[in-house]
Symmetry: C2
């Protein structure tokens, strides 16, 4: 019993052309695996490309084609992707997209228009590349009250941090290597500043908690300040540093944030190295799950796009069955966390006494202190503090900075 | 837009009652997450149980109820589960089951009857407990040519091996501890002998490669022969020992086997400890994926059963769209693998020369040798050999055993 769907692909860059390639070479595999006969009627790009499929440079040839059931948008970015996706939805075409920026920024509008036109908006490929995560959350985990998701959702930064951890490299050298290997863009800022991961955090939060997310409420911080020294001190106390996208329910509020995070070595996320991604999900009654795989690249992303196409073909009703709830996103200043603090003091005498006093004043409680041998005149001190609200820590650190015995607060990193 | 399905649960042991509990406490969560209103019309057990739902001790009150859409079989084993599941399918009721023995032994017949009656047979919970794996393979990965699946699919044995690895325990002590914690049954044989994992291997092979599997073709070997010494020697050379369920395509044949396996420490499966499960899947174009979580227990299993119920409610057509292919399952004697061999020699002089000669005669090539200090008169020698067919290794070992310089071949373990 097979079903046929007819699709058009707009955008033939790395991902669009990988999708066209897989649909061509694996057509029989897909038919056998899913019972779905996916026909590519037209592909579109602004410049002429070699393709086994009928080519157009006008996206409306696809959007207005009455035979096409699904439009796959592989342009990336918001302009002109938003306009084209909306046009397709208004034309009652299902849309499949790997475009995290578009989905994170315009989820609410897109889902509304999709719902009104009784079609589906699918974006499995927007988070975690080839890792099934959006569909499993929606289709496999509905029994659960999901409480937290932690994800390594950016392969570039995970590669850089892995190189810093495993090969002892400094950030700038690891970045150069990532660029040489094609894991980082010539302009790497969206990755290393945490922006890319922030889109994915917003999408995960929106799907898991069925909430509206405004990108301005998503706190993000990149890995550019992580030093080789931090990697080493973290290792000494049993941790690795990972860039995590975190979202969790805290009472009626939701946290959505991206930042470097100390992860204990025994945690399954700690074993995720190189350019791999992994998403860890906690809920009741399922307990803890983790989904691991290639978070980018044409092949893995094409695999996820096909998953969405199959899902559309298999299900008779549009898959967006709910409206997004409004929810308060907690400001980072109110987030509670444990912290790692690295600071330098010209001399160690009196330092701990001064810091302890400043911390106690703001109700910050010290969990552990590591002092290494002095290098020249400078002592490095690493402090871990118990769970505390960020605003209290910030206030305490402002006091600490004023102490004559403290030269510099070098870095502050949250602990998972 | 919500849909209603009406179900009956047969069997109220650990899993059946956990399912009834989740459907009762999380009814609104499930409705919100999935748009599906799951109504439990009747529950059944041979002995009277406390339940918020209407109770019967006659399973046919459920099977013959025209209002019930789905029968959830939570009895376990083949008798009387097979008879009841078939009766439900013949009555055009969808069936959801966590029963790995039933599914592994009777997949072909059950799928045939389900297909003839235009209903679905769903068994997400039969492998990996709360980990979504069957549905992701079917629904999220159809773009891929899956080539291999390696899984830690038995929590009992993973707990025992983790204790042996992390706490240096001997097998028998670790088993006792697993029993005390409720991770192992009073009669643990189905787990520790690899039988339970063999059912799951058969199901994974059948789903991933869409083939018929006869359980007699599934090779399995348990963990009872794994000694603390093996754990330590493996660690010395950078490996952990895990009980893996392995299935892979090799040309037109398929391998399906369960045995203790040396897994390199850097492999994502190596980080799976305690009673957790994880399933690692390789395919083109997606690359490598891993799914990690709780492989047993009422809550996680109930989560997976609900996933199947949602899937039935969301899809208009029965989900079994293909017929199982016949495929040659490769005999273990023909399987190619690398091997770890631990043997004892009364004296080390002449041993390696003798072994090398015996191995060379059968085309077994040595990759590495570790010799430790002699204890008393006995030298332990650990040999790793390059990939070779099992029958060649067995023939070589038969020769080795005849050597006067070899006292005993203590253990032979495959390397992933």
């Amino acid at each position: 019993m097979s079903r046929k769907i007819t699709i058009g692909i707009i955008g033939l860059g790395n991902i669009g052309s990988a999708l066209a390639g897989v649909l061509s070479t694996n057509h029989q595999v897909i038919l056998r695996n899913s019972g779905v006969d996916i026909r590519v009627k037209k592909v579109c790009d602004i410049k002429k490309r070699k393709t086994p499929f009928s080519f157009t440079s006008n996206p409306y040839d696809i959007i207005n084609d009455p035979e096409i059931d699904v439009v796959v948008e592989c342009i990336g970015g918001v302009n002109p992707a938003l306009k084209l996706v909306l046009a397709a939805l208004y034309n009652s075409k299902h849309v499949v997209t790997p475009n995290k920026e578009l989905v994170a920024k315009h989820m609410k509008q897109l889902q509304k228009v999709a719902g009104e036109n009784k079609v589906s908006l699918m974006f499995e490929a927007s988070v975690g590349g080839g890792i099934p995560i959006i569909q499993p959350i929606k289709e496999c985990l509905p029994a659960n009250n999901i409480t937290e998701i932690y994800g390594i959702v950016n392969g570039t930064t995970n590669y850089i941090l892995s190189q810093m951890t495993e090969a002892g490299k400094e950030f700038s050298d690891a970045l150069k290597e990532a660029q040489a290997k094609g894991y980082a863009e010539p302009n790497p800022s969206a990755d290393i500043n945490g922006n890319d991961a922030a889109y994915k955090a917003a999408i995960l939060a929106s799907v898991a908690f069925q909430i509206e997310v405004n990108m301005k409420d998503v706190y993000f911080e990149g890995i550019t300040k992580v030093a080789q020294e931090d990697i080493q001190y973290a290792a000494d106390i049993g941790y690795l540093i990972k860039l995590l996208a975190i979202t969790k329910k805290v009472g009626k509020e939701v946290e959505i944030r991206v930042h470097p995070t100390l992860v204990p070595k025994w945690h399954p996320l700690a074993a995720v190295s190189d350019n791999y991604n992994a998403i860890y999900v906690k809920g009741t009654p399922m307990g803890e799950l983790m989904f691991y795989g290639q978070g980018a690249g044409g092949g893995p992303t094409a695999s996820a796009l096909v998953a969405d196409l199959i899902s559309i073909a298999h299900c008779s009703l549009p898959i967006t069955h709910y409206s997004l709830l409004k929810s308060k996103i907690r400001n980072i200043s109110q987030v509670q966390s444990r912290y790692y603090i690295r600071l330098q003091a010209p001399d160690r005498y009196g330092v701990l006494a001064g810091i302890s006093k400043a911390f106690a004043k703001k109700k910050v409680s010290i969990a552990a202190v590591v002092q290494k041998e002095m290098v020249g005149n400078v002592a490095t001190i690493v402090i871990m503090v118990h769970t505390v609200a960020e605003r209290n820590l910030k206030a305490a650190l402002a006091e600490v900075k004023k102490l004559s015995v403290v030269r510099k607060v070098c870095n502050v990193i949250r602990i998972v």
